[in-house]
């Protein structure tokens, strides 16, 4: 029979979060993300979870970080303007190692921009938004079904690596409705954070592994959890000791980057004779996939690469499929951000052709096909 629903991307994100075990949501409504909050506000009370509409986005992420240390699986949802307010909190979550999932349904333009129109201009904001330098994880759904599945992945990454994880959706993917058959989706195993369950001495950041992720104890449990946003030692005390500083910063970096093979997700559609490679993500992947289907019907040879995890960027994986490629076409609803990342990977023999919209509309397959050699 199946269990088919015709759902909005934002609703699927909320249902994915609940499936992953999310039991705390704090947020402030903003188009085009609000339906995530609406759905959580309806569903969380049914499972004795907490939904809080906060006074703003700064407080929303702060509440999620606090609740995370209290043992909850937490999520907030916003759009670019809200992420701008949350950037301080993102740094806090990085430094204190708080598992939290942040949904960014991207809209167009800087500042309040275009509320109801699509954009993809927050990719570098997700990467570099907070100060000081740190790795981050961002995952990018293109379909309603992926909104559901990838939000579960986002929770798994957050719990496994104790890090804020972005789900970088966009107005099209968040607002569009599609069918999803819940009986046939293949879901990842749910991962929960490692906990320190014994009465043995507990240090908040107790790991000697330079790539390690320390186990957690909930606030109010049998041990004291000491959390500091200042560079700290294993006890959570602020430190000026060079070795401690070095160890912490390297561990925060390496716990992600030395595990990138476990994190990176991508999709390819290769024609070995292709001279053109199209690289598309989010809603622009849908334009790209349609474009290569139509281009191939006219006899053109073209390949497709789709980064699903945007950060850490699947650079090695992209490089591996560049044999014979003379041109890389990168459609983005921004001035081009992933295209800049690709430029770092290729030499002058490969031409990067950017296809950019900044008018709040999707890039059409025709605009991509035009650029295929």
């Amino acid at each position: 029979m199946g269990n088919i629903k015709f759902l909005q991307g934002n609703e699927a994100i909320a249902l994915g979060a609940l499936k992953a075990g999310c039991d705390f949501f704090a947020g402030y409504p903003i188009t085009p993300s609000s339906e995530v909050a609406t759905t959580m506000s309806i569903e969380l009370p049914k499972i004795h979870g907490k939904f809080i509409q906060m006074e703003d986005e700064i407080a929303s992420l702060a509440a999620c970080i606090g609740a995370s240390f209290a043992g909850k699986k937490t999520m907030t949802a916003t759009s670019g303007p809200g992420i701008s307010l949350m950037t301080e909190g993102i740094g806090v979550a990085i430094m204190t190692e708080a598992p939290v999932v942040i949904i960014n349904a991207q809209r167009g333009g800087p500042s309040t921009g275009q509320a109801t129109k699509v954009g993809q201009g927050d990719v570098m904001q997700a990467r570099w938004g907070s100060h000081g330098g740190y790795p981050i994880i961002a995952i990018s759904p293109s379909t309603v079904e992926e909104c559901y599945i990838y939000t579960i992945h986002a929770f798994n990454f957050a719990e496994r690596y104790r890090i804020p994880v972005f789900v970088l959706s966009d107005e099209v993917v968040s607002h569009m409705k599609e069918n999803i058959d819940f009986t046939s989706v293949s879901l990842p195993t749910i991962i929960n954070r490692k906990r320190h369950n014994s009465n043995d001495e507990f240090l908040t950041y107790n790991t000697s592994d330079p790539r390690g992720v320390p186990p957690m104890v909930d606030f109010g449990e049998r041990h004291l959890t000491r959390v500091s946003t200042t560079t700290h030692d294993k006890r959570g005390w602020a430190t000026k000791n060079q070795n401690d500083i070095n160890f912490l910063h390297r561990r925060l970096y390496n716990k992600i980057m030395s595990n990138r093979e476990d994190i990176v997700m991508y999709e390819t559609d290769i024609d070995v004779e292709a001279k053109t490679l199209v690289v598309g993500f989010g809603c622009s992947f849908r334009s790209s996939k349609q474009a290569i289907i139509e281009a191939r019907k006219t006899g053109k040879k073209v390949s497709l690469f789709r980064p699903i995890i945007l950060w850490p960027f699947p650079d090695k994986e992209l490089k591996e499929i560049l044999r014979g490629i003379k041109r890389i076409v990168v459609p983005e609803i921004s001035w081009g951000q992933i295209s800049e990342e690709i430029k770092k990977l290729v030499n002058d023999n490969i031409e990067i052709v950017k296809v950019n919209h900044v008018d709040g509309t999707m890039i059409t397959p025709e605009e991509i096909i035009e650029k295929v050699l």
Partner: protein
């Protein structure tokens, strides 16, 4: 085989909801694939509003309509604007009182008094959306009437179920005349 549909008019006319019901008819009840996207301003009422639905037996990648098979327009502005992307074989559905057939358009037209009938029969203008959906389903088979009935009932509040079923019958009767 894929069908592209645009339901266009003003905010408050229930066209985005109609698009959702059409999508649910096609997917949950007719077991096809569908994608719906909408375009609207920040205002709750007024302002141009349109709902795009693509229905297909196969996978749908690009979610926006490009070559319409079906266009429903409740306003002159949207009819004039979008008739250009209606295929030669496409079908235009317009409100009989509010929309004239756009100049230079010589394709198939279904012009019915959706809004007038909704007002006179139910004293409720918004149900024009269901009458229109039903005429589209009957005239084009894009979704089965059976699926549409189920989807409409699923979305209607208890006290409005009979009225919605009657609206479906009116839409069918328009086409039969």
């Amino acid at each position: 085989m894929s069908t592209e549909i645009r339901l266009a008019g003003e905010g408050g006319q229930g066209l985005i909801k109609a698009g959702f019901i059409l999508g649910e008819s096609a997917t949950v009840f007719d077991k096809k694939n569908a994608v719906q996207t909408s375009s609207y301003g920040v205002e709750a009422r007024g302002g141009e509003s349109s709902s795009d639905i693509i229905i297909s037996d196969g996978k749908i990648y690009f979610p926006r309509v490009r070559h319409l098979d079906i266009l429903l327009s409740f306003t002159q502005i949207t009819a004039d604007k979008y008739v250009n992307i209606l295929k030669d074989s496409g079908k235009l559905f317009i409100d009989d009182d509010f929309v004239r057939v756009p100049k230079n358009y010589d394709g198939e037209v279904f012009s019915f008094p959706y809004i007038r009938t909704a007002r006179s029969k139910f004293n409720l203008v918004i149900i024009a959306n269901i009458i229109a959906l039903s005429s589209i389903a009957y005239a084009t088979n894009v979704v089965s009437i059976e699926a549409l009935r189920k989807a409409v009932l699923k979305n209607a509040p208890e006290k409005a179920k009979d009225m919605n079923l009657e609206a479906i019958d009116i839409g069918i009767s328009f086409c039969k005349q």
